[in-house]
Symmetry: none
Subunit: 422 residues, 2 copies
């Protein structure tokens, strides 16, 4: 079975509204092992809709359509379907008329005349009840393809899919999983996976990068979809990506760090200059982080570095705020002030101004302090202010995690390594 | 001119990732008055990509493609384009090779062999420079259609579109503008605009809500598109939305606050408990915020509230960390510690646990302290942890701005007002 998805609506075609229906339907089809070979989106235009229906019905066995079933003049899916079915006439569906009257009566309102349009259907098509709104869906055949037309609002479409479309889909053995890594680029990490990424392999492995986190997406079918087989694959990818891999599924970098610290009964403090609270916001986005996060200082001004984190005035004067010694004193100082076991400090130049030849925009020193541990690394992040700050904040969390798990990994090469001595 | 948009990627076709590129491109085309007649999405499959390219090139004059230009084996757009161009051979582009080497050299890294794939292009196609990543774009003709292939990551695709594709689009007498507001819901603010929102009006005014910021989008055509006409409309909307309106265009809440403070030569400090650095990260996301932001404390643990912000142990014991008196002492304390003119404090229950009958999840106290000013307000935010934190952080910035501009506005009603006494 092959599927195709068609989204309809001017608001989508003009870019005013983001089409989330196609994605949701694709997820459901994937769960049933039904590949979706085509996705299309067309405006509220009779001819374009009809043409898309005809072409999709040729290329797929199942065509899922959303939108264009409303009561107004620009809702044309019913008529376009009749056209695509070979020009069959439109009829009024008596049950749909009764259902519409019931809907309005139950809500104590009189039915606007326009809503009667919604009870019309192509001859040979069937109306599909809508529990959540006035627009009935439509089921029909175009050639050998089964076609379902559903309303555009997700809160109407999703229950209709669940109740009527899903029972007809195959129940396939299919499983998906993810492994996340940080510190190297997508191509480097993909190279490490080698033959695992071949397109005809089962499980199928692909990589994607979102921000600076690289994810391996694993999709196992049939015998490769058992929990054991999936687990083995995810574990092996994590092993290959060691020590860059930090978690699977919905785990974030901050969550993975939290797990390490909680297991050890240890806590974290942060001193953030150029990131100004971004690492802290990633940490505290995790529910339950109060167990392992003591707090921190947004030490933007030098006075905050000195007064709240105990950086020596002499160190600031001699090396500047963006330097290895200041990163080191910040990490030590904030750890002590907050009584935490571990700490990270971030001081750098996020731009767009403030760079120099010796310390260009993107230069960031990150310090980590812990029981018997102290280290500072220097990075050179590419990109704009937002990307520099985001990567620096995540790097700090990743480095604490590496130091907690195995201090020897603290200096593992990262993609943003600075050639300069830290 | 008619356009078509093609999105490529398994992660999109499987429903793992939401395709935002098609929508963004549709918005841009709409702004240039170019109708988009087809949108398609196909997986990483050579044959499907090639077929889609051929069919779209038949139906449109301009075909915009995103995705499939990465360095790995499942990135097939280059080859599919060659196929769709009639089976022209692939060639290595010497300039693209040099550019790739330069990219890696500038970052002090050696180029993985796989990246060389990215310098290959169909004969007769042109490589398009990518300022933000390693994947060059491609420009080509299929029949009479002009085709642009751009990378999938929005931060690479959008600048490429702006620099190379946009200059070739028609220039319409069209202007767009935005006014942003915070503190009330979209329907409340839309009601205030009244007849201004009629769909046949020029300029056309619509509202959208993103997170908790409500935006009026103004689109003027022809005579309503002059700078004077647009400015008059934006000023009038800002007046109607006073004091909730905080800026126009790309101005953020933090940026608007920064403008107020800079104009007065004043500075800000923050004490963040439940938001743990989120308000600080919004502030420091603004370039140049070091002029007006002194820093702050992520006072997650009570010890941090006491030691770093000077909250009295007795106050914490008597009222609890989430209380008006603690919010008040936090604001006063952090302002003094950091030598700032103004400060905000945030202490609340972000959930999912920690709520009680008297202080349910979503209860947040926000304090503001400034020259001759002190105030605390209590809010009750709906939603999940992330939404609560986001709204609380933004509310803190909005309240400081109101207090700086006119202390009388500090208590203007917000949609998340708590019925309880603060």
């Amino acid at each position: 079975m092959k599927a195709a998805i068609l989204s309809i609506g001017d608001e989508l075609a003009l870019g005013q509204t983001l089409d989330t229906n196609a994605r949701w339907l694709a997820q459901q089809l994937t769960d049933h092992g039904v590949p979706c070979v085509q996705f299309r989106l067309v405006p509220d235009d009779h001819a374009m809709q009809a043409q898309a229906l005809v072409e999709l019905a040729r290329s797929a066995d199942l065509v899922l359509v959303t939108g264009g079933l409303g009561p107004t003049a620009d809702d044309l899916t019913r008529e376009a379907l009749a056209h695509a079915m070979g020009g069959v006439p439109m009829e009024e569906d008596p049950e749909a008329v009764a259902s519409l009257h019931r809907w309005f009566r139950d809500r104590g309102r009189s039915m606007p005349q326009g809503n009667l349009r919604q009870a019309r259907r192509p001859r040979d098509a069937t109306c599909v009840p809508n529990d959540m709104g006035t627009a009935p869906g439509l089921q029909a055949r175009i050639g050998s393809a089964q076609v379902w037309c559903m309303p555009g609002p997700p809160r109407e479409m999703q229950p209709m899919f669940d109740r009527f479309v899903r029972p007809g889909l195959p129940r396939l053995a299919l499983a998906t999983g993810m492994v996340h890594a940080f510190g190297q680029g997508e191509s480097f990490l993909a190279d490490l996976l080698g033959d695992r990424m071949q397109r005809d392999r089962n499980p199928l492995v692909g990589t994607t990068a979102s921000g600076s986190v690289v994810t391996a997406r694993v999709r196992g079918r049939e015998e490769a979809s058992t929990p054991q087989a999936m687990e083995a694959e995810l574990v092996e990818i994590a092993r290959i990506w060691k020590p860059y891999a930090f978690g699977s599924g919905s785990v974030t970098l901050a969550g993975a760090l939290g797990t390490c610290l909680r297991e050890r009964g240890q806590t974290l403090a942060l001193a953030e200059s150029c990131t100004g609270g971004l690492a802290g916001s990633l940490v505290t986005a995790e529910a339950g982080s109060s167990v392992w996060f003591r707090g921190g200082v947004m030490c933007y001004a030098n006075q905050a570095k000195a007064d709240l984190c105990g950086v020596q005035a002499g160190t600031l004067a001699a090396h500047g705020a963006v330097s290895e010694p200041v990163a080191n004193e910040l990490a030590q100082g904030v750890r002590k002030r907050l009584g935490a076991d571990w700490s990270a400090s971030i001081t750098g130049i996020a731009g767009p101004s403030g760079g120099s030849h010796a310390k260009p925009v993107g230069t960031v020193f990150i310090g980590v302090s812990g029981p018997g541990f102290a280290g500072v690394r220097r990075f050179q992040y590419p990109g704009e202010r937002a990307a520099i700050r985001d990567r620096a904040a995540r790097t700090a969390l990743a480095l604490v995690r590496l130091a907690v798990l195995d201090p020897a990994d603290f200096h593992v090469p990262f993609i943003w390594e600075s050639k300069e001595h830290a």
